[in-house]
Subunit: 232 residues, 2 copies
């Protein structure tokens, strides 16, 4: 039994927000829900590029790697984000689920047709792609020019913005669960796992953050954390 789009948790945040209920009804006939287990790959770099999707739940990583296996994570996707690459025959990066996740999947060709038919959809995708390009370029500054401490602090700032519970409440004392292992954090920041670990404990020793478990982070002093993200 098909679940109605009107009940979808990301109906108003995903690209679908640009469509009327009637338009969405048409498009949704081409789509289907797909549950993805933590660690599962959805798209492989170099493979034929078959699907586009909206993230309904969970977190995904986009990554590329060198021939000898060094990996770089080039993006993270959260609920309501768009996943896929319209207008290209093959994908440049691999997409894996970091948590159990749920997608609303469309065949790429159908999705491209929808972009053609609904100009508001295409406009919203353009705007999001431009935003994503800005974010990605900002991340280049981090990769090319920031120190290990700045990288780790920047990463925690950014993750806490996305994941902290009481985002509207106090700006401090927030705790959140990291969807990434230390190795994956290292692959986001262009560092080794050991360096990430050392910088984390340094921040903890300085009283800037707390690490209740290995996968959770509590920001104790946000101004201090932001300062360390900017300036060595």
């Amino acid at each position: 039994m098909r679940r109605a789009c009107s009940e979808c948790g990301v109906r108003d945040q995903a690209l679908c927000a640009s469509l009327t209920d009637d338009q969405l009804a048409v498009l949704s006939r081409a789509g289907r829900r797909r549950y993805v287990a933590k660690g599962e790959s959805v798209i492989w770099a170099g493979d034929e590029n078959m699907i586009c999707a909206n993230v309904v739940a969970g977190v995904f990583k986009l990554s590329t790697s060198t021939a000898d296996g060094r990996e770089q994570i080039v993006g993270l996707l959260y609920p309501a984000d768009f996943l896929g690459r319209p207008y290209a025959p093959s994908s440049n990066y691999t997409v894996d689920a970091l948590t159990d996740a749920e997608l609303c999947v469309f065949p790429r060709k159908h999705f491209e047709q929808a972009l053609h038919d609904y100009e508001e959809l295409e406009r919203l995708l353009l705007q999001r792609t431009l935003d994503e390009l800005d974010n990605t370029r900002e991340w280049m500054l981090l990769l090319g020019r920031k120190t290990a401490e700045e990288k780790v602090a920047s990463f925690i700032v950014q993750m806490s913005r996305r994941l902290a519970k009481g985002r509207c409440g106090a700006s401090t004392g927030e705790e959140f669960l990291l969807p990434l292992s230390r190795t994956q954090v290292a692959d986001v920041l262009g560092l080794t796992i050991e360096t990430v670990s050392r910088q984390m404990t340094r921040l903890k020793s300085a009283g800037v953050i707390d690490l209740p478990t290995t996968r959770s982070i509590r920001v104790l002093d946000r101004p201090a954390l932001s300062a360390r993200a900017e300036h060595a």
Copy 2:
């Protein structure tokens, strides 16, 4: 006196390629030619975002920097490339001319109106933005995971693809003029000027490239250069 679009050198390569002569005639009434001297800034990071433009001639750099002045070049623009950021009130990066250059400039609001009016224009911009995002993510792998030698070799490979004269001819023996100083190359690669210089002379000593002048590069052994770009 206004120059006709039909005589424009990038009429069929720039975004304008998606427009008919009639459509372009309408749009071009809002645009104007602007000559930019080497070193001049066209857009400043953080400033109000007023313009969009097509690059007609010359090369531009996009860059961001940290508060204490470390700079990272996040993109290069060549003739027929699009310059600007539709749908955002301010710019995230500074755009400077690396050579004397020429732009076809539109007020941002006019350009956004054109995107709205001509769906082929919007589609082409979307496709280019998606391509640019792919390229930028590929560059993240270089910044985060490649060694200095791999970075410099990758840079030369990429520049030679863009700039070498006889691109259709032999794949070797090409010579081209770098539009960037050593400092700027360092800012592209996330290295220091000294490291760039040392890697360049290493490649020269190994017979992979020649450096006839400080601003020109000749690729002597492209397979060897590509190998060094991939693998330390």
